[in-house]
């Protein structure tokens, strides 16, 4: 029984990493008032580039850096369209998503089925490893956990956090106080892209060290729903990502007893229910999306 539980926890932690990273990124993007629906594409691009570079140089860390940069570059494209050119962010984001999927699919053909020599390292953390399920993990498991706490701190306990949140609420107010709205938004969008890329890199270098088209499996889409579920708060993002990961693992365990098709829908039905619940709660408690989410800023 104990090994069963620790097994479930361990697998949940490992599975939730890309979801958590992508959600944390999207939280910052949306907090700054930009909607980026292209996470899936950026993640896929990050996964491929990370794998290709790590494969070519036989060094996973080169891959991580390259994957993050590739997705960050893709996000820069979205930033250019949505912030500078003030294009429709839904269209731009969806295009980015399809573009990223398409490019990684075409360029990745030669890497399908290749075996990676060096993967991301696995560590035992002192103290933490005595907890069930925490025995030893990929370095990204610890990094993403710490990152969630750190990003919460920045957003809610520092001067910069106030600026980021304010830009998403009322850019005109920030502009009047001498804040460069575009700079803040560009920074957050690129940061969100880098995190999506790192999520992809974790997939192709650590979780399943290989490249195959479609290996992101909709995690990018889910992270958009999780961002809302998390009330745009990194700590709730952490809770949401692990909760979703747990449901996903549980649906595997019960496959012997319940129809697997039905179980497979569970992780996706859950955000649907959670979202409708959240929106009712949010209306009552005045916690909703950033007031200027998806609205390009232009000086009157």
């Amino acid at each position: 029984m104990g090994s069963l539980i620790s097994g479930i926890i361990g697998r949940t932690l490992a599975y939730s990493v890309p979801l958590l990273l992508a959600t944390l990124g999207e939280i910052y993007v949306e907090r700054a008032g930009v909607l980026n629906l292209g996470i899936e594409g950026m993640m896929s691009l990050g996964a491929l580039v990370a794998f290709a570079v790590a494969f070519s140089f036989s060094n996973p860390w080169f891959g991580v850096v390259a994957g993050g940069m590739a997705a960050g570059g893709a996000a820069l494209l979205h930033a250019l369209c949505s912030i500078t050119l003030r294009a429709n962010q839904v269209v731009s984001g969806l295009s980015l998503g399809m573009l990223g999927m398409g490019i990684s699919g075409v360029l990745g053909r030669n890497f399908e089925g290749k075996v990676l020599g060096a993967t991301l390292p696995v560590y035992r953390m002192p103290f933490l490893s005595s907890l069930p399920g925490f025995e030893k993990h990929n370095v990204f498991v610890y990094l993403s956990l710490g990152l969630a706490v750190f990003l919460w701190f920045v957003l809610f306990r520092t001067r910069w956090g106030i600026v980021i949140r304010s830009v998403g609420e009322n850019p005109a107010a920030c502009d009047a106080m001498g804040i460069n709205v575009s700079t803040v938004r560009y920074t957050c969008v690129v940061f969100g892209g880098v995190l999506a890329g790192l999520a992809g890199a974790y997939l192709s270098l650590g979780y399943r060290p290989s490249w195959s088209y479609g290996m992101t499996g909709g995690i990018g889409w889910l992270s958009i729903a999780l961002t809302i579920f998390a009330f745009w708060n990194p700590l709730w993002g952490l809770v949401g990502a692990y909760l979703f990961g747990l449901l996903y693992q549980l649906s595997f365990r019960f496959q012997a007893h319940v129809s697997p098709e039905l179980l497979n829908t569970l992780p996706y039905v859950f955000p649907l229910i959670a979202l409708s619940f959240v929106s009712r709660l949010a209306a009552r408690k005045r916690i909703g999306p950033p007031a200027s989410l998806g609205v390009p800023y232009k000086r009157e």
Partner: protein, 514 residues
Amino acid sequence: MEKEIIIFRGITKRFPPDILANDRVSFAVEKGTIHVVLGENGAGKTTLMNILYGIHQPDEGSILLRGREVRITSPRVAIELGIGMVHQHFRLIPNHRVWENVILGFPRAPRFFPAARAREMVRNLSQEYGLDVDPDAYVWQLSAGEQQRVEILKTLLRKAEILILDEPTSVLTPSDAEKLFSVLQKMKEEGRTCLFITHKFSEVREVGDRITILRKGRVVETVAKGEADFESLATMMVGEKVSLFLEKPLVTPGEPLLQVEDLWVLDDRGFPRVQGVSLTLREGEIVGVAGVVGNGQRELAEALAGLRTPLRGRVFLKGNDLTGSSPRNVREAGLGYVPEDRRMSLIGDLTVEENLILRDYQEPLFRRGTFLDWKRVREYAENVITAYRIVPPLPRLPVRLLSGGNRQRVALAQALVSRPQVLVVANPTVGLDILATGFIHRLLLSLQEEGVGILLISGDLDEILTLSDRILVLYRGTIVGERERPKSGWTEEDRREIGMMMGGVTEEHLVVGK
């Protein structure tokens, strides 16, 4: 040190395609004074101030600050030069706390855990200037007057020596406005300079050492306090002689038309915004509902018009129970509604004639069987355009191309298509110039003479006093006071008392205070 702290030299600003917002504007502001910039909407006051604050760049001309020419390329530069601005529409974040708003973008706030230090800074400044506000309150919880204090605190924290206030009194209760004037007086005594932007020349009497009048982007004149009376200020603003006097017709109110009993209405967030309002409106009577925005005016009006289902209470029109009826039933029963927000009544991309029949397209007059009779619609629209002097007189012009005053004329005409016996109008002259305001006021008075009962919901005390036979004061969803127009007209005493009731002072307290 020069006496003239700011000099505008030939400022010209164009907005594409062909709007000339400022045309060679030149005048000087003396240090340690309150300088009023007076002008109608669209006269270019806000554009000029946005240029001073670095939001816009002038196409021609320059600004001299403390004797030196400066290029103010962004608000950041303006702040560094000691300029602060309180915009007409506050630049605040409603979902954030007061202290978060005050230190937003303030480089000397602590980088980590800024809350404690920020609260302290807000408290100190509030005490020093008598700008009472709780640093931990959320901005959305604050009244307009309190929000303005937050905006002023923001400029004080940044040690602004020049404070620009754009239409600061438009959202304030008369007593909040008094408080603002005393804060400005204190700042003036400290040697700070205020630029006070307004279109209400009655305010010039209260503040202002010097007055610059702008019209159509140009400076008409700069005069010192006491050099010009109201009539000449108004004439300079408008460019032609205007009569500020409106003759109020002597109408004896007839039978009760609209009766409201203990009405409770929820707002969009589910909070009871109207709490037990009862009122009666008679034939040929104008009843003014005075109050500052957000005290339940919108919810009351929408409940009467059938746009919002009341929580409790009854609405009778000529004895028929209309509680919870659909907007169409309400209109057919004889109640017309002109909302404050013209986007609620008019559709910008539709033409004048289309907007006029938007609500009453089913009238037999406009129909030929199932189809619209566009010829008769056109004739009707042409008559309206002549009667209401709508410029340009084109029935097929999209409404969005009309000026605010002309749009409001269309909105009123639209509500009057069905010849209502009761008219509910909300802030009918907000944002309109003096001439358009006069036209709307005269129109309402002529409707009164025809026997229409008018419920005038307005935050503008001058407007309420000009038009109303009876005044009800709405505060936090309840009627806190009522006044009947004396035979000789309203007195200063009435004005003062109604103003105080708008700020929440109850009738009993007024008596005790005497």
